[in-house]
Amino acid sequence: MRILTCVKRVPMTGGKIVLSGDEQAIETKHLGFTISPHEECGVEEAVRLIEANGGESVVLTLGPPEAEEQLRDAMALGADRAIHLVTDGNEWDPQATAAAIVEAIRADEAANSPFDLVCFGNESADSGGYQIGIRVAYALGRPVATGLKGVSLDGSSVRCEQEVPGGRDVYVLPLPAVVTVLEGLNLPRYPSVPAKLRAQRKPLDSSSPARPEPRLEKLRLVVPESQGKEAEILGHGPDAAPAVVEVLQRIGVA
């Protein structure tokens, strides 16, 4: 079977977000980058499914040349090969992103065979648009279930579990299908050193699609004003315990 997982390169933010001078992006000169967390679980899930069922796990990203780092990271987790839709670093809006992914999927499927499952993160950590996987699914004419914390294959269908208050809702989709997943679906493995090294040598195809005019056009980013809170210091060390209990009593929880 074949599974495609789409991932996004996002910065690892610290305690404070600082914007670049043009307010178009987060200042990342001090920051590392990672695969957006939901998608990392997607990669792990795809790898586990392929390990159990055989086949090929492919990872795809649309992002700047540096996003190769995240593709290699995904391959270190066990993905077999990668597709890189290289951008100039400018953000693509969700429709453009989805369209480029659809085109890449069609091209890959034409050259190989259809993906049984295409996996997305439910939403990216940075732009949080909540729609790429769904758009791709509709364009491909495949069913999609979202926000999943459980994915299992059952012959020609995929059983999808979505956490809701009071339990888990179950969807069953026929393959080929699209799923969007959440962190907590699994605990991604730490890659081993040999896996890291293998990842450096795994095949990576790249192409540079043209960026259409955005229809959801980012104008600028704004760091929301902090609440300007001044925390009341209840004390230092264990001596502060009585003051803490007093607060808890005042709030009515103790």
Binding site: T13, G15, K16, I17, I26, H38, E123, D126, S127, G128, G129, Y130, Q131, I134, Y138, G141, P143, V144, T146, G147, E161, Q162, V164, G166, G167, R168, V170, Y171, L173, G184, L187, E213, P214, R215, L216, E217, K218, L219, L221, V222, P224, S226, Q227, K229, A231, I233, H236, G237, P238, D239, A240, A241, P242, V244, V245, V247, I251, G252, V253, A254
Partner: protein, 309 residues
């Protein structure tokens, strides 16, 4: 032209969506599906009926929304920025090939409507322009005031949307499991959490003890779940659980943006931290400066002494 609001279920979030939608232009139309929902303050309720809506069926609901869009030409379609609201509107966007702005906190309608939407779970805002005749957006929960639900229920116009086969595939087949034992993190009145500073899985003993004394739930940072010390269900944060307790006791939590996105809803935050400059202090109401391994047991002991534990 009306503004159409998809109402998943009645409540505060629905009222927030309605308030937001009203700002985009009246009249307001609501769309509900499956179980009947009483909606006030709108001109029309379009209620989608049929077997397909017996359980939650996002694809069918989206098709119903598109059908109403076809018949009533709303200038904007709005839903709550909940998992289901976002899903339904994303499907609508996919079917109609319209842009969708998720989790907005403000919007100015019109030609080339502008929106302000959240990124990074609310740690960052984006001002954007939407190039479309119909504005699709979802409303960031708890970012705008809810409008009063009082008043007469609006007239309901039921319809049976024309669904395609593929719309019937994505439907909840069953509900399994239940929130097993203990206090649910999302609903707890008190959450006591800890970061890597716990030192080990066993280090959470003092956190569990305090949470237990307060009848609260235990939370943790993402680093803790990634290390495998606690299950992901304990994780507070942008990619974990978003909590809204009366008080959030954050021990050894520095306050990374990804974490703070999950505890914004707390009514009060008490930070126990050795670093008085830790970013979390900028969001906390109360703080104890000190080593959590000393402070937390002292609080538990004090609670026992006070007899409230």
């Amino acid at each position: 032209m009306p503004t159409l609001v998809y109402i998943e279920e009645p409540g505060d979030l629905a009222q927030q969506s309605l308030a937001f939608a009203r700002g985009l232009g009246e009249p307001l139309h609501a769309l509900t599906a499956g179980q009947r929902v009483e909606v006030t303050g709108v001109e029309h309720v379009h209620h989608a009926e049929g077997d397909a809506f017996a359980s939650f069926a996002p694809a069918a609901i989206a098709r119903a929304v598109v059908e109403v869009m076809g018949t009533h030409s709303p200038s904007a379609v709005v839903a709550s920025g909940t998992p289901r609201g976002n899903e339904v509107l994303a499907r609508v966007a996919a079917i109609t090939d319209l842009p969708l702005a998720a989790n907005c906190i403000a919007s100015t309608p019109g030609d080339g409507a502008s929106v302000t939407r959240t990124r990074w779970g609310g740690s960052l805002l984006e001002e954007a322009r939407v190039h479309a005749d119909t504005l699709l957006l979802t409303v960031q929960p708890h970012a705008v005031a809810a409008e009063d639900a009082a008043g007469a229920a609006a007239p309901v116009e039921s319809f049976t949307p024309a669904l395609r086969d593929e719309d019937l595939v994505v439907t909840v087949r069953e509900r399994v499991g239940s929130s097993a034992g203990g206090v649910s993190l999302a609903e707890a009145r008190v959450v006591v959490s800890c970061g890597r500073g716990a030192g080990s899985p066993e280090g959470f003993g003092i956190i569990e003890e305090l949470a237990g004394l307060l009848g609260g739930a235990v939370g943790c940072s993402r680093a803790v779940t990634m290390a495998g010390w606690r299950p992901h269900t304990d994780q507070v944060g942008q990619t974990g659980t978003k909590i809204a307790p009366d008080i959030y006791i954050a021990c050894g939590i520095s306050g990374a943006t990804q974490h703070m996105a999950g505890c914004k809803g707390a009514k009060a935050i008490l930070a126990v931290n050795i670093d008085p400059e830790a970013p979390i202090l900028a969001s906390a109401d109360y703080a104890v400066i000190g080593d959590l391994h000393e402070v937390v047991p002292a609080i538990s002991a004090e609670l026992r002494k006070a007899g409230t534990g």
